[in-house]
Symmetry: C2
Subunit: 207 residues, 2 copies
DNA sequence: GTCTAAAAATTATCTTGATCATATTTTATA
DNA sequence: TATAAAATATGATCAAGATAATTTTTAGAC
């Protein structure tokens, strides 16, 4: 048997690293297999010895680092309104997002909207449901600690979580699609204030 | 000079018709020049005698029917809370949107999120600003008629309009990206209730 | 009525990216 | 040291956008 046992593993790992880096920076569509393989110091043909397809690569890259994602960390972190606000703030901070070097549910949520690929859409749904669940948990926990200013039953918590996510995704999608820096800030701010108000926190001044 | 004067015009018009139909149904990325030209009963090569690029075709298709768009009609329609609610309802109704046969700002807003093409992004921004302005106008008009339940100054109207649009775009984007019909309805409903509450209307029961 | 040349349309070609098939290189072990 | 299976590389195919080269069309000159 040629090659040491770990040779292929190392190659695959290199491909995965390259893919993660490029996908996070540019998104699924704007990254080519060729780019990934060049960064991994191989030629394009070798790719299919390691992955079924480009989608499979994306999925692998996503799943590999899921645990280390900020929402993963957040799910385990102690509860506080401050943390929730920080979540919103992080998600709304486009620069931080685009500089992220690990794929994460939030990352997919904002980067892979409207993909034609069934597999990417499945990851999208998974990410959406995951982030939604985290939001619900945190809001529930806060409400049990009587830290929220609204009456929180299960239904209203679920509805608020969905409304928050819709605002987040919409504002970020719009912000990423328009040129005007001013308007970008305004829509992100409007969404942030709306989210804070959904959490029962009074509005902050424009950042 | 060969061909009657209007021959080319008619061909161009046929291309435009085909493009409008296909783009509205499937969006920019999922439609090929070949498809458009086949529907227009020509071969792909003829395309570039009529349009600079695929983007130019999209733009032309968009601009051609802009006046007839629903947001155009809505901007001229009489003001009422009912109309505003209907706007939100229409925008949230995915089926109606996807069956639309004319391009419209709303259509672009939901179909062309995150496009790589600079030209499509410019149309996106234009559409966003247009719909935003319409929202602001209508909310302002309603507030002057004292029909709203919140104190409406210019700033809060602008902020509310942005928050509404973010919710709309986010909810529709998510709804289009996920498989579960249940969750689709829930996120759309959450967004709708949120929008109604931003307008000062009490929540409706789930549709 | 025919002929002609500019306009319109078709067909062939180029490019890039995903995918696949074939060829080549690599290296553990017989 | 030779070998063969595994890993990688090279080259081909296919689709889609874009261009080039070629053919078809027909208004208007004769």
């Amino acid at each position: 048997m040629p090659y040491t046992a770990e040779h292929k593993l190392k190659s695959k790992e290199r491909i995965l690293q390259s893919a993660t880096e490029l996908f996070c920076r540019f998104g699924f569509d704007k990254v080519s297999i060729n780019q990934v393989m060049k960064l991994a110091k191989m030629t394009h043909g070798a790719f299919y010895a390691h992955f079924e397809s480009k989608e499979a690569l994306y999925k692998a890259s996503f799943l590999q680092t899921l645990d280390g994602s900020s929402s993963g960390r957040l799910a385990k972190a102690p509860f506080s309104i401050g943390h929730l606000i920080q979540l919103a703030h992080n998600l709304l901070n486009l620069r931080a997002l685009s500089e992220q070097t690990r794929p994460s549910p939030e990352n997919i949520l904002f980067n892979e909207i409207g993909s034609d690929s069934t597999e990417i859409r499945q990851l999208y749904e998974k990410s959406y449901l995951g982030v939604l669940k985290i939001l619900e948990k945190r809001i529930t926990a806060l409400s049990k600690l009587n830290k929220l200013s609204f009456v929180a039953n299960q239904k209203s918590i679920k509805e608020r979580s969905r409304a928050i996510l819709a605002s987040l995704v919409g504002a970020v999608a719009i912000a990423k699609s328009i040129q005007s820096e001013d308007e970008r800030q305004r829509i992100l701010n409007a969404a942030q204030n709306q989210i804070l108000s959904l959490l029962g926190v009074s509005e902050l001044s424009a950042d």
